[in-house]
Amino acid sequence: MVSPMILIALPLATAFLIVLIGSRVAARWLALAAVALLVGLAPFWFADILRNGPMSIVLADVLPPLGIAFGLDALSAGFVLLIAVSGLLVLLYSVPYIPHAGQFEGAKKAETRYYALFLLLMAGSFGLVMTKDIFNLFVFFEILCISSYILVAYSQEERSLEAGIKYMILGSIGSAFMLVAIGLSYRVAGSLAMNDIGLALAAAPHGYALLVAVLFTLGFGIEAAIFPLNTWLPDAHSSAPSSISAVLSGFVIEVALVVLVRIGISVFGTLMEPALGVLALAGVVVGELAALGQKELKRTLAFSSIGQVSIMLFAFSLGTQSGDWAGLGQLLMHTGAKSALFLVSGYFILRTGSHEIESYRGLARRMPAAAAFFSLAALSLVGMPPFFGFFTKFRIIEVAAAARSALGYAGIVVILFGTVIEAVYLFRIVRVLYGGAIEGARSDALVGIEAAAGADGATPFADGATQGALANAAGSLASAATPTRADLPALAWIAVAGFVALVLVGGFAFPWFDQALQPIAAALATL
């Protein structure tokens, strides 16, 4: 069995190799090969851990507390699998997509750095889920953050630079908070291992432990997109190249969230739970309602991510194992659905040159597969049976009801309300995609015809003649606006199909996922 340290070593080494070689083609193949290898290995680790229990990794024969502690248990192995698979799919998508992602000087050369940074980001994520040591956590957190700051600004357009700067300023404040918390923990525990810190904090005065907990949670929570620390998210997720948006929304915030929850349970006990529950519900309301008012596709999806992550956080903050389990299900579903949505919207933007939802009118005729994938992922996100999203949302509501607390009942109401809003804004987009071209291109002549046709539906005056005129106008507009059919390129198609397959299989094989998630949920409460 290969040591899981390869998860960190291989992406790091490949990243440096890519920069050294400096060739685009080599970068693509090396990155794909490295991640494909990890995808091949990940299931074996997962199976091994399910059979033999967690494994701890000793580096350079130095045992903790002096050595650097890593470990792989059901939770981290599960996440390793998730990160590796999503990473591979997104890399596949990047091959055709990234050459179009930025029009700036030296874009060709930058492409090699894209793959290097992408691998760094993956190494950071792997490290986050595997480390048992709070300072290593900080280091991997920073690797993850710095690579994602740069990746967000990759296209070097004004909006992505601005988003990158905002993301970075907030991230730096967060890491300062974390460092203070780490220092305070070390002061009482004399060790950086999370187990020791947990024991020491339990013995420390309440105020001291609380200060550490709040500083750490809010510092790390910036990356986990807890309301109100998530203000950078809509900007960053909507302005990054779509492959990066998919990764950020697909597993980066989720990994941060799960690591935070795990540390919250094991190190801080139940100190933060009530506060997190309240913040989560506020996040659902704000995220979903703000998404409703958006005009840009990726911004809508970014706000929807805030809502979805808050739903997961709510499930985790219930503090029961079934709550963790429900939250993990939602997380897995969200990875599949939201990644697919972001990847597809990347090509919507490429094909139309616009971020605005309105400019995608009738795009389904040109990109039937892309539009179909979008609809399927949206259905799952809203929670239509038999898609994955239905079962996970159902679970969350079930455990919220089982909690029999005011917060639980409030959570049910908020989540049900959020679902309604989500259905409205997601299916408004689907309707635009499948709509006629007539409303999108409002020439003056058309407005006149439409007014004559009684646009508001009270008395449809349209008889044969006007209908014919409308159809002609629509036809000519459609042909002018959409000259050719240009669906997703093959590799992007495969990547999106992979994520959509997750939500489909998740729905039809739900009991299997249900069982697979149980040991992971059990591992969440232990370190």
Partner: protein, 122 residues
């Protein structure tokens, strides 16, 4: 008499608060980044202070000058120092990236004002 560590703790807290104040009030992105560096500085001093021992010496085991435990009692804690080294490197990296991004933005928009960097909102 005021202990050295008390002075250092106070300094670090003042620096952190000062940096936060700067980050919250400055209207210029570069100043914001400088404020973040001030916060970093404060945090680093804080971490160093945790490992401080009065009249301590470098954590190097010298053969022949007492037992290991004797020596260890007089050594400054090496761990916070290594943490600070790492943190300094990370802080340096972040600052470099930040300034690069700001520079690129300045090339496009000819401004580093926070209030004018609001293309993305609502």
């Amino acid at each position: 008499m005021i202990s050295v560590s008390a002075v250092l703790y106070t300094t670090s807290i003042i620096l952190i608060l000062l940096g936060l104040y700067g980050a919250l009030t400055r209207k210029n992105l570069i100043r914001t980044v400088i404020s973040l560096d001030v916060i970093d500085l404060g945090v680093n001093i804080f971490l160093i202070t945790i490992g401080y021992i009065k009249d301590g010496r470098a954590p190097i085991y010298v053969v022949g000058s007492g037992s290991l435990s004797d020596q260890a009692a007089r050594m400054a804690d090496p761990l916070p120092q290594s943490l600070v080294l790492t943190a300094i490197v990370i802080g340096f990296g972040v600052t470099a990236v930040a300034l690069t991004l700001i520079m690129r933005l300045y090339e496009k928009r000819k401004t580093v004002e926070v209030s004018e960097t609001r293309g993305l909102k609502w």
